[in-house]
């Protein structure tokens, strides 16, 4: 059975994580948000080959996950459009980790954007 499936043609391209482009439009580096503000997580991920999705995660200084969203979309161009309402009511450094899943073999690429919450 597996033999039959393996007969199917498949694009074979060498993995090139450096070719993956992750652009985060918002939040911007150093941007400040107040309690109750909506943090729009927007951007775009592109690659010459196929991508398998993204994970957008906001963490605090201790590394606790405040928000996590993902898009399991296959393609070479993945728009990112998530949002989170800031529930942190004290001054805090936050971080957006935007990770794209290049394939189902755990190959990933991540960019980080630091921003802050102000009461």
């Amino acid at each position: 059975m597996a033999g039959l499936l393996s007969c199917q043609k498949k694009e074979e391209v060498p993995l090139q994580p450096d070719e993956v482009k992750i652009v985060v439009t918002t939040p911007q580096e150093g941007q400040k948000y107040k309690w109750g503000d909506t943090v729009y997580i927007q951007g775009n991920i592109s690659y010459t080959g196929q991508l398998h999705g993204y994970i957008a995660r906001i963490t605090d200084e201790q590394g606790a996950i405040l928000y996590e969203g993902e898009g399991h979309t296959h393609g070479s161009n993945l728009p990112v459009n998530e949002q989170w309402v800031n529930a942190v009511n004290k001054a805090s450094q936050l971080r957006l980790e935007l990770t794209t899943v290049i394939d189902h073999n755990e190959n990933k690429k991540t960019v980080n954007v630091a921003f802050s919450s102000q009461p």
Binding site: M1, L5, E11
Partner: protein, 307 residues
């Protein structure tokens, strides 16, 4: 006696239609003809099909829990056969699909007209209707086309994760081919049916995997006056190749495809020009959607009017 012989010989294409696709790509619409009534030349019918699956969804993020779902695929289908001359038969299928899925606290329902299929079959071999022939054969084969009448709005995440198509249509023109063989000795018989669907990419360049559907059934024919009943049992094998997320780029989705082997039991009943059909299938071995999809059961029921 002549009526009996005619009935049995004419039972050489069945009401059973497996929408393998719903399992093995419902959407691609495998049309298994199986054991069909031959007492009259033409018929029209309505068929109800129910397929149930469970699914396991692994998130991209390792911090999120695996979640589970249950999918129910229901189809009500108009279908019929029109004979042209002694050897040609034209079959047509028009499904209406009602698919539901439940996932933890959420759910979805997708419904609408599905893709229509037309098939032309030719009788390659048929034993003459003579009392000299104790063992009778009938061999038919043909091909057709599946027309993308059903709505299709891109491929959902569920489909990317290996689920059969939840949408009413596939958006693609596909070519089903089939071969159907029936042998009968006195009141007992065997029907072997093979259907294969060659798919093409749709406008979004998504290509559902080609699908194979085979079924072998033994049947026994009982008749009293105008009433006849045919219990049957057999085994069905469904196999689907991987889908392509983008056929032009040859982006193979290895989460899709697989096989399902099912035990099948059913009965067909005829009274005059009216026929009823019921079949139940339960998988006995399977590996589908990288093991994340499990076929649970399948029910086919239908009524046909012969003329």
């Amino acid at each position: 006696m002549k009526y009996i012989i005619a009935c049995v010989m004419l039972l050489s294409c069945s009401i059973m239609q497996s929408k393998a696709c719903d399992v093995c790509g419902a959407s691609s619409g495998n049309q298994n003809l199986g054991l069909l009534p031959q007492m009259y030349r033409h018929f029209v019918g309505v068929q109800y099909q129910y397929n149930e699956f469970s699914s396991r969804h692994v998130p991209l993020s390792e911090t999120r829990p695996v979640w589970y779902g249950r999918e129910h695929y229901q189809t009500v289908q108009l279908w019929g056969r029109y004979c042209i001359g002694k050897r040609w038969q034209l079959f047509g299928f028009l499904p209406y699909r009602y698919n539901t899925g439940s996932y933890n606290s959420s759910g979805m329902t997708i419904k609408g007209i599905g893709d229509a299929t037309a098939i032309v079959n030719y009788t390659l071999l048929q034993t003459a209707d003579s009392s000299d022939n104790i063992l009778r054969h009938r061999l038919q084969g043909g091909a057709g086309i599946k027309i993308p009448l059903g709505s299709h709005s891109g491929v959902s995440q569920a489909e990317r994760e290996g689920l059969p198509n939840m949408q009413p249509g596939t958006g693609s023109w596909d070519v089903p081919v089939n071969i159907n063989y029936t042998a009968r000795y006195r009141n007992s018989g065997l029907n072997a049916d093979l259907a294969y669907v060659m798919t093409t990419p749709n406008i979004l360049e998504y290509k559902y995997g080609n699908r194979l559907n085979m079924q072998v059934s033994l049947f026994y024919w009982l008749q009293r006056n105008k009433f006849s009943i045919l219990p049957q049992a057999g085994i069905r094998f469904e196999y689907a190749l991987h889908d392509y997320d983008n056929y032009q780029r040859k982006w193979l989705n290895e989460q899709t495809g697989g096989y399902i082997t099912s035990a099948v039991a059913g009965v067909q009943m005829y009274y005059g020009k009216t026929g009823l059909q019921l079949q139940y299938s339960r998988p006995i071995a399977q590996y589908f959607g990288s093991g994340n999809i499990t076929a649970l059961q399948k029910i086919d029921a239908g009524i046909i009017l012969l003329f």
